[in-house]
Amino acid sequence: MIEHLFKKVCESEDLYISIIERKENTLSVIVKRIYIYFTRFNCNKIESDRYVNSRYYLIRLAKRIGIYNNFNYCFSHAGKYSAVLVSSKLDHMSVDIEPINRHLTGSLRLRIRELFPCLKIPEIMVILILESLVKLTIFYPSVNLSKILTNFQAINITELRESVFEVSVNNVMVFSKIYTYSGLYICITLQTKQFDLIL
């Protein structure tokens, strides 16, 4: 496992982001699976190598930054890469990553354009924002991507400044920032627009 990035996103909220590349051999995964078995991450997903590798990294990371006893987290995976947001303070935070060159079908691009005609950004960036909303529990009802595509759930996205967006769902407001890093788009969504991280 290679840690490509580890940085603080928001000074006041003790929020960090990591990007890792999962490169593991079978023996290493078995050892980690046993380790995970005795932690709070033991569940039916323990059969998945991706789950084991990412949670093992998360535990080590939380111990490294001294927040193991109390932390929240959010994962996103894209191919061999995983991103994790971790904080000892924040409850509502999310991350989504996708390769910059991720292929979208013509019909999906068209649908995104129809839904968000004012946004002058690549369609994949809009999808990143939407995907990050799905992981947040502050919205009621929760965000459902298929309902957005079929006009059954309305979401307003406004670009505040370059790569920072104000997002409103059922009168609940959050803020997203999209970073570009090593061939990936990284979208972080928070309740504050204080994004101290510069990549």
Partner: protein, 75 residues
Amino acid sequence: MDEKFIKLVSEALEININDLQGDLELDPEDNWDSVSILSTISEIDAQYGIQLDGTELANCRKISDIFALIKKDIN
């Protein structure tokens, strides 16, 4: 599964149409992630005029399961 559906899956999952002869397995950790599901929803809407539920689609484990959802909706 008809030719129109195979072409749709090929486009949505970025798989060469020649590799779609059998009943392809859908792996949520590989070829069946959220973007693939969104692409499939929008393609099915465009090609068949059917709006499938994302959760039902996410539970599909083979492309024949997707086709079954389409057929169910048409019938």
